[in-house]
Every structure is written in C-alpha cells, then in structure tokens.
C-alpha cells in the first residue's frame, strides 16, 4: 500500500463514510454555503479520496473553509456524507502537524449540551491554531 | 365414603350406570387401587380417602368403549384432565356419569416416610372429613403428622376446589393452596445456566425409563408413543446417562404442552421421585407469559396454544434476549 493509499484509507476509517457509494449527484455542492470559497468542491472531495489524492486535499483551501454545518451530511442521498470526509482529512492534517491542541480530558468541560458535539470538536480543532 | 358407596349403589341399581370407576381399598393403609365395580356388593370395598391420588380420567378412555355409562369419581383437578380428553375426542362425555368428589388434598406416603415414620401399620384421619392431623400407628408406636405436611406437591399449588365437569357433587373440598404455582420454576430460572444444567443432570440421571410418568399421564394417551414407534427411528428403552433421557422428557413435555392440565401425576408416580412436573409447569409458565393465561381442561372451546397463533407472537429470540 502506498502512502497515498494509506492516507485515503485512514480518512475513510476516521470518517466512517464510504466514498464508493457516491453517485455524483452534486447535492452536497448544491447545499454548501462555503462553495464559492472552496478550491476543491465538496463533491470533488469525494472523488479525490476515491483517487487517493489526499495530498491535494491536504493542501487545499477547502479544508479550512468548510463550516462543518453538515448540510451535505444531512442531505446526501447516498449516505456518503462528504462533510465527514472533509472533517477527517482535516483531522489527518492536524495530526500530521502534531497540532492536537485539545487534550481529551479538556473536552467535557467545553461541551455545551445544546451544540452538536461533532461541530464543537471540529471547530476547536480549526480555530485554536 | 358411605355416601359415595350409597349413591354409586343407587345409580348401579337404577341402571343409570353399568359400572363404577373409583378406588378399591388396598391391603396396606395407603395403597388403594383404581378399580371398576359392577355390582352393589362389590361396593363395600370402595374407598375414598387422602391416598386416592390416582387420576381416574385416563381410565375413561377404555371405559368409553364399553357398553353403557360408567360412573367415574373425579376430584376437582381430575376434571381438567377429563375435559381435555373429551376435547381431544378420546373420552366420550356421554359415556360418563361424573360424581365430582370433594378433595382436601391428597397424601404422599413418601412424605410421611421422610419424616422418619417407618413401619406403618395404620393411618387414621385420611378421610375427606378427617382432622387436620394424621395419626399413624407404626411398629414403633403411634406417630402424628399434620395432614398438610403429608400432602403431594401438587396440592400445595392446587388449581381450586371447583369441578370443571360433573353430573353431581359429593363431599366438601378444602382449600389447600399455600404456595405459588410457579415459584419452583422461577427459583430454577434464577440459577446460572451451569447450575440449572447440573440440577437437571442430577435429577434425570435417576430416570430408569420405566415410563410410569408417560403411562400415568392423562395427556400422554397416545396409542403408540413416538418413543415406542419404530416408524420414527426414535424408539429407545436404554437409560443412558446422557442426552437421551433429556430428549425423552423434553419431547414428552413438548407433546403435552398446552394440553397438560398440571395434574401432577407424573411426579406422583415417578419411582425415583424426579420432579417431572417442572417440565410441564415451565411450558405452562412460558405459554402464560408469551401467549396469555391458558389453562387446559377448563372445558372452553379455546384453541390450544400450540395449535394457535397471533400475528404479534414473541419471536424465539426472546429466549436469547432475556439472557
């Protein structure tokens, strides 16, 4: 397994999503509020992972433009949930840089029961740079 | 007892019945046997007391084939079996004249012996209207034993004093129930699986395959039991200390599931004292839990649980899920 394949595999694993289920309908991109600011569009994100092109994703602006609003996750008819892939790619990059800012035991205090937990986690990971 | 003899005599005399099915006095104080009486003179040997535990309803299968009506004495719990046999077309209700005899619980001689009372010469107080205490004359003198303490297990969980079928009633019954019917089953259910297995292994390893349970059981009235039938490749007489015995008892209980009235004859007759009623009662408990309360032999037209269903029945996985 090449490094690229391994990374793609890792993203799939972290996200728990199956990019092969994608039927390229584009509903994710149609739903995305940050679409215009992204260089790699949400639906492309899926195909990049299918092609093991994680490097490009890691370099992309999109990674940091995704708001984690999960509109794409909510609406994806094929259960591919591109938002999770974006999130996973971001996590991969953060890990590589050794930038795990949040320690696991700090998280409980930060939790607001009103907020979706995943949003919270991804937001912290992004903005506390 | 006198009354019963008198009434039976009258019915014989006026031709209502051709014979009387009751109990004949034994040669020991505790061993009356089921018997047919055809003349008034014979009736002097008729006896009815606490040792008349045998359920006579099964004998009505053969009696139904005889000419004329048979007067049969049935205790409240026997009438359930009788009804069940009628429902299964084994007994002809028209061929029976039922005297529903009163019952104050039936006695288990083993329970008396277990209290250290041996060498029994005579037992007093076993009659229907007798006192609450038995007086037992033994080789080593007179002993006392509370009637209740000598009662069969089944009487402690009695289904009630009501006769489910009768042409006339004779004698007062007393309440004997002082234990929960399913308490024993529940206690076993609470054991860990390994203990349950060990318990039944120990009990069933006593089984000698004498078939007393089967042959006494009013529900086990098959002309040819599958365990005797060469057509099922299941005939078996060996008592092997492995699964064979369990298979016999599981299948026997399964075959009578939903038909068993819980009359307790199986446990009463087992020479090895195996608590065979537990198998049947477990099925009854499960049936009640899964499919709603059901009592075989009440005389209702209700379909038996195993020949019935509802769309919402529990799935077999319920067994696994309840742990």
């Amino acid at each position: 397994m090449t490094k690229a394949e391994k990374q793609a595999e890792e993203i799939r694993e972290i996200s728990g999503s199956d990019p092969w289920k994608c039927m390229k309908c584009g509903k994710c991109s149609a739903s995305c509020p940050s679409y215009d600011e992204m260089d790699i569009k949400p639906h492309q994100f899926v195909s990049y992972i299918l092609q093991d092109n994680v490097e490009a994703l890691a370099q992309s602006r999109s990674l940091w433009k995704c708001l984690s609003c999960f509109a794409c996750v909510e609406r994806c008819p094929r259960d591919v949930q591109p938002g999770r892939l974006v999130d996973a790619a971001r996590q991969l990059v953060v890990r590589q840089r050794g930038q795990d800012y949040l320690k696991a035991d700090e998280i409980p205090e930060l939790l607001d029961p009103e907020l979706p937990q995943q949003l919270l986690v991804s937001a912290f990971r992004r903005y506390r740079r | 007892m006198q009354e019963l003899r008198k009434r039976a005599g009258e019915l014989l005399a006026d031709g209502t019945v051709a014979r009387v099915l009751a109990w004949r006095a034994g040669d020991l104080p505790y061993n009356p046997e089921p018997a047919f009486f055809e003349t008034e003179a014979e009736l002097e040997h008729l006896v009815y007391d606490g040792f008349c535990g045998a359920n006579l309803s099964k004998l009505m299968i053969e009696a139904s084939k005889l000419e004329g009506k048979t007067l049969v004495c049935l205790k409240p719990c026997d009438t359930y079996s009788f009804n069940q046999l009628v429902k299964e077309h084994r007994v002809d209700r028209e061929k029976a004249y039922i005297i529903g005899v009163g019952c104050r619980g039936k006695l288990d001689i083993e329970k008396i012996r277990r209290q250290g009372i041996r060498g029994i010469e005579a037992v007093e107080g076993a009659e229907l209207d007798g006192p609450e205490e038995l007086t037992i004359r033994t080789f080593s003198g007179e002993k006392k034993c509370a009637y209740r303490d000598a009662m069969l297990e089944r009487c402690h969980v009695c289904k009630g004093k009501e006769h489910m079928a009768y042409d006339e009633l004779l004698g007062e019954s007393r309440d004997t129930k002082d234990a929960e019917r399913f308490a024993e089953v529940e206690a076993i259910e609470r054991m860990p699986a390994k203990e349950r297995f060990a318990y039944f292994q120990k009990e069933l390893s006593k089984c000698i395959r004498c078939n007393a349970c089967r042959n006494a059981c009013p529900a086990c009235s098959c002309r040819k039991c599958v365990f005797d039938s060469t057509k099922f490749d299941s005939e078996q007489k060996a008592n092997v200390d492995s699964f064979e015995e369990k298979m016999f008892h599981i299948i026997r209980a399964f075959h009578v599931a939903g038909r068993c009235t819980d009359c307790g004859e199986c446990s009463r007759v087992c020479p090895q004292g195996i608590p065979l009623h537990l198998f049947n009662r477990k099925f009854i408990k499960d049936i009640n839990t899964f499919y709603g309360e059901y009592q075989a032999g009440t005389g209702s037209d209700e379909k038996a649980p195993l020949t019935n269903y509802t769309l919402e029945d529990a799935e077999p996985s319920v067994v696994r899920e309840r742990g």
Partner: protein, 662 residues
C-alpha cells in the same frame, strides 16, 4: 435395500473448480445403498441425462442422487429424466453442491468435504424414499384480477378474449387507475384518457368481465386452480341498477369540502361523487365520512334530487365469495410521501408540487381546467424548475434505493409540453443522470433540449427556499461547469419516487405471495418467470412487480394473461404428491393436526382399524390429498407421530440429520 446411483455434476467449472468431484464420486461409492457413482461435466445436458437414464437401466437403479445445482433449478429436469427411464420421479433427490457449496467456499478441501456430506444426506434420504404418485386437482375456469388500472384492465381483456370469465376487483369507485390521472403520455404525447377510456369501456362492456369497483379482497384460501376469495363490496349507498349517471346529486350535494383524491388534493369534491367524468361505472358513491346525512342524520338532498330513486342510505357492505383458478395482482403504485424532504419545501409551499400534481394541473379536467398556474396565487409561472430523483436512488431510509424508471421521461414530457404551450416560461431540469432506454425515448429527450431548449443542468438541488415575494429560491449546482446555481423559480416540480401501493402487503399476505424489502412482489424467477409469483396460480402485472411505464405495463399485463390462460386451459392439474398421510394404527383422533391445517385438508372418520390383536372402529384422521399442500404443520402437531409427510418423512428427515452430524 435400494440400489442408488450417484451422479456428480461438474457444472463446467462452477462446481469442479472448488469441489474435487472425482473424490466425491470415490467417497460416495462407500455409502450404503450406492451401487453406481459417476461424474460428468454437465449432468443437465442431454448427454448427461442420457448417462443417468443409461445407469438406471443397466444398473437397475431404484434411487438416484444428483449432486449438482439447486433443486430449485433442475430437480424437475432430473425427475423427468428418471421418469422417462422407468424410475418413479420421486426416487430422485438433489444434493445442492453448487449454490450451497462450490460457489460460496474457496478452499477445495473444505468444499469437497462438505459436498460429500451433502451427498451423504441425500443418499441417506433416498434410502428411505418411496415411489409417489402425483394426484390431480380441478381447475376453476375463472380468473381474478386485483386492481383496475391499465395493468388490470389489459390483463382482464386479454383473458376474456380467450373466452374465460374474469373478475376485476378495484378499491376505488372507478376503474382506470393512475393512467386516468395522466394528461399526456410519452413519447408520443397522445392524450392519456383518449387511449385509456376505450379500454375501460371495453372492459365494462365485455360479457366475460365482471367489475367489482369500490370493493376489496377480504380473504383468500385454496390453491392454484381452486382459490376461494371473499370480496367485500363496500356500500356505495347508490343503487347501481337504478342510477342513470345524470350527476345531479353531485351538483346539489351541500358537502363540498372533501379533498379531491383524483386531483391529488389540489381541489375539493362533493360527498357524493364520481372520481372523474369518464368513470366506469358512471355511478357515484357516497363518502359516508364526509356526508352530512351520515354524520348528522339531517340532509338527504341527494335522495330528494335523484329522479331514479337510486340513493340508498341503508345499503350494507356485501361479501361475495367466488372460486377462481388463477389470481393476477395488479395493484399498481403511488408516489412516496415527501415529508422527510424538508429541503425541497414541499410541505411549506403550495407551489412546490409533484409531477403527478402537475399532470392534474395540465389536464383540462383538472383543478385549473388545464391552465398552468401556481396553486398559491393562480399566477402563471415564469420560471419552472424540475428536480429529478426525489427519493429515488437513495441509500438512506428517507427514500427508495431503486430508480423509479419513469421520471426522466415524464419530466422531459412535462418540460416539452410547457415550452410548447407557454414558450415564455423558462424550464430548468436538475438531473443526476438522464436515463432514456426505450424505443424513441432518447430522441424524445433530445427534442426537449434541442427543439424546446429546456435547460438541463447536471447536478442536484440542495435546497428550495420560499421567498417573501412568493418565489422559490432554488440552490443547485452545475457539476459540469463546477459552479453553484441559484434560480428564482415560480414553481418547483419534484419527480418523487414511486412505490408499490401500500395495500399490496396485506394482499400479498393473503395470497402467500412473497414480497421484497421494497414491497414489490417477487417474481418466480427474475429473468425466466417475470410475471409469475413463486406461489403457484398467482401472477403479477404492472408496477406491483417493479417500476415500469405504460407500454411495459401493458406488455406484462398481456404476458400475465397468457400465463393465466395457459393455466385455465387445463382441465386438471397434477398435484404435489408430497402430502401428509396418517398412520391409522397410531392415530389418536385427537384433532391436533386438523387444528393447524391451513387448507382444511384433514377430516375425521370412524374407521375400522385392524392390526394383529386390534380390531376396532374408531375415529382417525384422513387427509384429502387434493387439498393438502404438504407444509407439514400437522406432522409436528401430532404427538404420536402418526401423521407423516410423504417425501419429507420423519425417518427421512432424521436420516438427513444423522448423515450431516455423522
């Protein structure tokens, strides 16, 4: 002792690649009763079958075991082969070493071992097989069609054409079905009503066809050739023999607020109503739930105005019991509910509609008399957006996993019709794929683009947002240009997925026809027997079996009719000889078996029973082998084991168990 021949098939490499067939042959030779064993590349081929025939003759075989594919595939083939060679066909058993072995196991050693065990079980069974003779049962020369849509009508017409009586049971007050709701049909754009109405009239006029409208199937019993069906004829409250169909009652009815089902709730109707003008029968029904007379007891206007005196408030539901030889299911479809697709604002805005609603809007007899207008303010729309695949091809529980098949074509039709009639209206279609396999289908779609300039955008819509000004903001994406699209539409049309009519589950249960996870009825074989249900005597017509358009539905309807005709043309059917049989010597006559028999095949007789030392007359169970279908429920209910199932006897089953556990 049997003389058994074992024939091991290679199935080309299907079996031989994973199962060492030579070894199987070698090992089964050791089994008791086996006198002959051989292998061959294709046992089902003519050459293979002749080897079996040859061995039956030369080896005087009394039993045959074929180790091959599933018995569901070739059991009949090999049984016929045995019969031709003078061996009772029921002396043949199949060991399924393909589907249950070679195809699922990779390890040759394991697969071979399993193949031998499966063969052993079959040999053990054949050792106890007895020759069985098929009986005969009669065929009632009458068919029942459930559902009066185009599928049902066409099936009935074709069956009637062959000279057989056929009844149609239709739930609604009129036959016609979904097709009667359509305005035009693709790819010819002819008027739906114009081609359907003549068929409806024909069905009603045909003396071989009896229509039971406003009726439902209540109970089905029996089996192929001899079904007994209870049909509930719901009280119409109008005497069909007196009504002239003048329509005065509907005009005068004071209760007018009931949503009009035929127009998909886009307008209302009276409580006494016919669903549409061309309804057949043209006799109204009183919707008792909304009728003032039935609800309050006061009114009775319709009775007063009916000159024919046809109104009958006292009418009761009627149960009609009839016998049929065959039953066709043609229960059709409905659109899925869109309550889970909040992003399309279907429940928020009246201007977001489904395609079927658009059909009614475009139809001259529809709620807008055929004028294209918004349901909110009745203004003509300027921009219309069509969204494809709403709920189709969906992996989650909101929608359906399958492609609804007809949406691409009807959307092209709608787009084209709108552009034709209203050239100023902009029409945009968001699609994922445009699927147009079919004669003249792609040409039709291309015309929409090339001739009518319909704007097709590849990409799905993310959200439809109703704006304060009454427009609908459509957020989409153009995947080919890779940019987001925002369109201010006046009307949004959703190509909602179709699903089998929800009633089909109940009907399938009554018919014991199997149904798949999407509630489509299962066919006996997906390729080779597409119009038959696995349950004998039950046939499938139309969308109840899977999504299809009108021409496909009509062809399947014809195919189902042919199958029905083929069945009804027979005078007798051979019955399955694997029926239950009671051993009178062991029978207690207790009725346990009869209590569980679903066919009422068991009765009791007082018979003289004789055996050594036994001679008595007693009640014993008797199985009517024409009624018995061989399920075996009775065999387990019987405590004494007196009841046994031929072909699957207790001893055979136990022999198989023993062989497997050996």
């Amino acid at each position: 002792m049997q003389r058994i021949g074992v024939f091991v098939c290679h199935c080309g490499s299907n079996i031989a690649a994973t199962v060492d067939v030579k070894k199987v042959v070698e090992l089964v030779r050791m089994e008791p009763g086996v006198v002959w064993a051989e292998d061959y590349p294709y046992m089902c081929s003519e050459a293979g079958q002749s080897r079996i025939a040859e061995a039956i003759r030369t080896q005087k075989l009394t039993g045959v075991v074929v180790c091959s594919c599933s018995p569901r595939m070739h059991e009949a083939t090999f049984r016929k082969c045995a019969e031709r060679s003078g061996l009772n066909p029921y002396m043949v058993e199949i060991a399924n070493i393909r589907e249950h072995c070679s195809w699922i196991h990779k390890n040759t050693e394991e697969a071979t071992e399993k193949a031998v065990i499966l063969a052993r079980a079959a040999i053990a069974k054949v050792n106890l097989n007895t020759p069985l003779q098929a009986g005969e049962s009669r065929v009632t020369k009458r068919a029942l069609v459930i559902g009066g849509g185009i599928a049902g009508i066409q099936t009935a017409l074709d069956i009637a054409d062959a000279g057989y009586e056929v009844d149609i049971v239709e739930k609604t007050p009129s036959i016609g079905g979904r097709m009667s709701q359509l305005d035009k049909t693709f790819p010819t754009l002819d008027c739906s009503a114009c081609i359907l109405t003549p068929k409806m009239v024909e069905a009603s006029a045909n003396e071989k066809i009896t229509l039971y409208t406003y009726s439902e199937v209540e109970k089905v019993s029996g089996f192929v050739g001899d079904f007994t069906v209870d049909i509930r004829k719901k009280a119409r409250s109008v005497d069909m023999s007196k009504c002239t169909g003048c329509g005065v009652c509907q005009e005068k009815c004071p209760s007018r607020k009931t949503p009009n089902e035929f127009n998909r709730g886009l307008n209302t109707r009276s409580a006494i109503y016919t669903p549409f003008a061309q309804a057949i029968p043209n006799v109204p029904v009183i919707d008792r739930e909304h009728c003032i007379k039935f609800q309050t007891g006061k009114c009775g206007v319709c009775a007063k105005v009916c000159q024919a005196g046809a109104i009958d408030y006292e009418q009761k539901d009627e149960i009609i019991t009839r016998k049929y030889g065959a039953i066709v299911v043609a229960t059709g479809f409905d659109m899925i509910k869109l309550d889970k697709y909040g992003e399309y604002a279907y429940e928020q805005s009246p201007d977001v509609i489904t395609s079927l609603e658009l059909e009614r809007i475009m139809n001259a007899a529809g709620p807008t008399k055929g004028h294209l207008e918004r349901m909110s303010d009745h203004r003509p729309p300027k921009n219309i957006v069509f969204i494809q695949c709403v709920g189709s091809r969906c992996a989650d529980e909101r929608g359906k996993s399958y492609c609804s098949k007809i949406c691409c074509m009807y959307t092209a039709k709608h787009a084209m019709l709108i552009r034709d009639k209203y050239p100023d209206v902009n029409v945009t279609v968001f699609y994922i794929d445009v699927r147009t396999p079919g004669k003249n289908f792609d040409e039709f779609y291309r015309r929409a683009v090339e001739e009518y300039h319909v704007n097709y955008i590849k990409g799905q819509v993310g959200k439809v947002t109703p704006q304060p000004d009454g427009t609908l903001l459509v957020h989409g994406v153009d995947l080919l240009d890779n940019h987001q699209v925002k369109i201010e539409a006046d009307m949004v049309v959703l190509a909602a997925a179709i699903e089998p009519n929800p009633d089909v589950r109940k009907i399938a249960t009554m018919l014991t026809a199997s149904i798949d996870t999407n509630n489509f009825l299962t066919e006996a074989h997906p390729k080779l027997r597409p119009v038959e249900s696995p349950t004998a005597g039950i046939f499938l017509s139309g969308v109840c079996q899977g999504p299809k358009d009108i021409p496909e539905t009509v062809s399947q309807a014809g195919a189902a009719a042919v199958k029905v005709i083929g069945l009804l043309a027979k005078d007798k059917l051979l019955t399955n000889p694997c029926t239950a049989k009671a051993d009178v010597l062991a029978c207690n006559g207790c009725s346990a078996c009869a209590n569980v028999c679903p066919y009422g095949a068991i009765s009791y007789e007082d018979q003289e029973v004789r055996a050594p030392g036994v001679r008595e007359i007693r009640r014993v169970a008797v199985v009517n082998s024409a009624l018995c279908q061989g399920c075996g429920a009775c065999t387990v209910a019987c405590p004494s084991g007196a009841m046994d199932l031929q072909g699957f006897s207790n001893r055979q089953m136990i022999a198989e168990v023993d062989a497997i556990c050996r």
